[in-house]
Symmetry: C2
Subunit: 346 residues, 2 copies
């Protein structure tokens, strides 16, 4: 296709009008068999590829959605996007993608761009689904969207697991193994409402068990000095025997940091994650975690969006089931006889 073959060229070559070409392209009305064939030949010969800009402009349908996630570098989002892609490919939708890096301003910018592209809908994970300028913008523009991973209190459509219940389930398992002092290492609450909700579940589970909340360490998502932060809490008189990571990436970093501190997982400290990224099962010690069905979440989000596009009302809450995945990183609480210290020498 020599850089700009248009429907007009096809029409000329086939000796018909552009209307006819358009018709064989979209094929709803009846056309004479030989005409159809001539047109098809011309299309083939010229390597004609319809220009979606023209088509979309006229038809007011782009068959394109926008997907916004905090970062593709967290496998949980990459997996979800993969799910979305699969569903989109099947349904004939294209995907515009952007990452916010957990930043509200970049969320805004991305949404703005998506809207100018006339996407038919959006799937997104935002920092805070109950207080989000970009979601306000979407509401005002009356643009269909579905949140994924976010679990707002408000009426916004979302697909996720029940974060509070899931975190609670996780912590209950920790407690059941005899741990009495359980800390949490969480992604920044301001950057992740999920982190906040999981903390809520964590506290509830501990409260139910009559246990105090352990230390809470809030960390940035790409924090390289995690060991230092942890050291502070692990060298007290009564350090936690288990740490609940608000997501798998955090949990894996925690395990690494503990090892750097000379602590053994799970012999000295147990660590659990949240998300169920595939890699957690491959590492050693394997990561005990709470599995979200990431790919299914993506697919469900898209299905939900299609529903909205079809004009169906919002529908039910869309909470998907989570599961627990056991792993070597979670063991019974160590006997209290000899609390471990951070460094052998002191």
């Amino acid at each position: 296709m020599a850089k700009g073959t248009t429907i007009r060229d096809v029409a000329a070559r086939a000796g018909v009008s552009i209307s006819t070409v358009s018709r064989v392209l979209n094929g709803f009305t009846s056309i004479a068999p030989d005409t159809s064939e001539r047109v098809r030949d011309a299309i083939e010969a010229l390597g004609f590829r319809p220009n979606r800009l023209g088509r979309s402009l006229k038809a007011a349908r782009t068959h394109t959605i926008g997907v916004l996630v905090p970062s593709l570098r967290n496998p949980v989002f990459a997996d979800c996007v993969a799910g979305i892609q699969i569903a989109c490919a099947v349904a004939g939708y294209s995907v515009l993608i952007a990452s916010s890096d957990y930043d509200a301003e970049r969320e805004r910018a991305a949404v703005e761009t998506f809207l100018s592209h006339q996407v038919e809908g959006l799937i997104l994970t935002v920092a805070d689904a109950d207080d989000s300028r970009c979601l306000d913008a979407l509401d005002e523009a009356e643009a269909p969207y579905v949140l994924v991973y976010n679990q707002p209190c408000g009426p916004r459509p979302f697909v996720s697991v029940d974060n509070v219940a899931a975190a609670r389930a996780m912590v209950e398992r920790i407690v059941a193994l005899g741990h009495r002092r359980v800390g949490m290492v969480a992604g920044r609450f301001l950057q992740s409402d999920r982190s906040r909700l999981r903390h809520e579940g964590y506290r509830a589970a501990l409260a139910d068990a009559g246990l105090p909340s352990g230390p809470l360490v809030e960390v940035d998502f790409a924090d390289t000095r995690l060991a230092q932060h942890l050291a502070h809490h692990m060298t007290t008189a009564d350090p936690p025997t288990a740490l609940f990571g608000s997501n798998d990436m955090v949990a894996l970093a925690v395990i690494r940091a503990l090892r750097d501190l000379g602590l053994s997982v799970p012999d000295d400290v147990s660590v659990t994650g949240f998300d169920g990224v595939e890699i957690g099962a491959l590492v050693s010690p394997s990561l005990a975690t709470l599995v979200q069905p990431s790919r299914a979440l993506g697919e469900a989000a898209f299905a939900r969006l299609l529903d909205q596009l079809a004009g169906n009302p919002a529908g039910e809450p869309s909470l998907l089931a989570f599961t627990f995945r056991p792993g070597e990183s979670l063991g019974p609480a160590p006997t209290r006889a000899q609390p471990q210290r951070g460094h052998a020498a002191c």
Copy 2:
């Protein structure tokens, strides 16, 4: 913006023609200050957002690129896409994304879709850059593109590391540690020309050292029965003492499989990877690997594409530097006294 505010509405409200609105929007020609302000007010009041379809159609510029990778679930690609996204955001480009799942037919389909969207260029990783229908299609359409990770023999523009040299460097380090029998676990050659090139480097390094090539295990990317395949090779009379994985995901799976076989890494068998995905540094044993600058590759690919779009000629080869990252998975060859067997009992 009430679902369809157009430049015409803005013009009407501001009491000017649409040409004038367009001009303040794009702002190259001079306009009277008060006119400009009135228009700007109208835009603000109506929440007007220019429709890119119209704009792109007329201007023949979409400011959009297409990105095609085998799978976002492999962090090496996710990282690269993240790099592309950063560069795109800076340059004001939008990103259409698709995954091929290592399948040539899906590569075709994705490229076809991208072209119909009138992307200005593409960045892609294909199964085989020297024999690819989808690249042929791009060449024929005269669409600008840059390969990333692929390293074709032919004249196609690419950005990557030198796979052969990098694999060779990796294997030289293995050999330097006393390993005499080095196997390779590789992604399917048909699905990954990188895998093929790395195998080439592996063989060259062994040949240089006067060593025979060890067993080669080709695996699918989502192979769950890796342990079975490996068992076959690890239970011979003279099993390899080191395994070179063609990428980090494979290497991590190998480590896991070896553990399932009752073998210790690195005491019984050393394992190395290729890619340098972040997670490899977090796991235990940490993965010795050859680091590709994935994010930089993405950024460089986009820079290169921009160059092409600006009409600059192809330019130099674009081979980025790789580095070696040590890790616990690679140790000295075990003394040959007592070759390990797969299972304790037999």
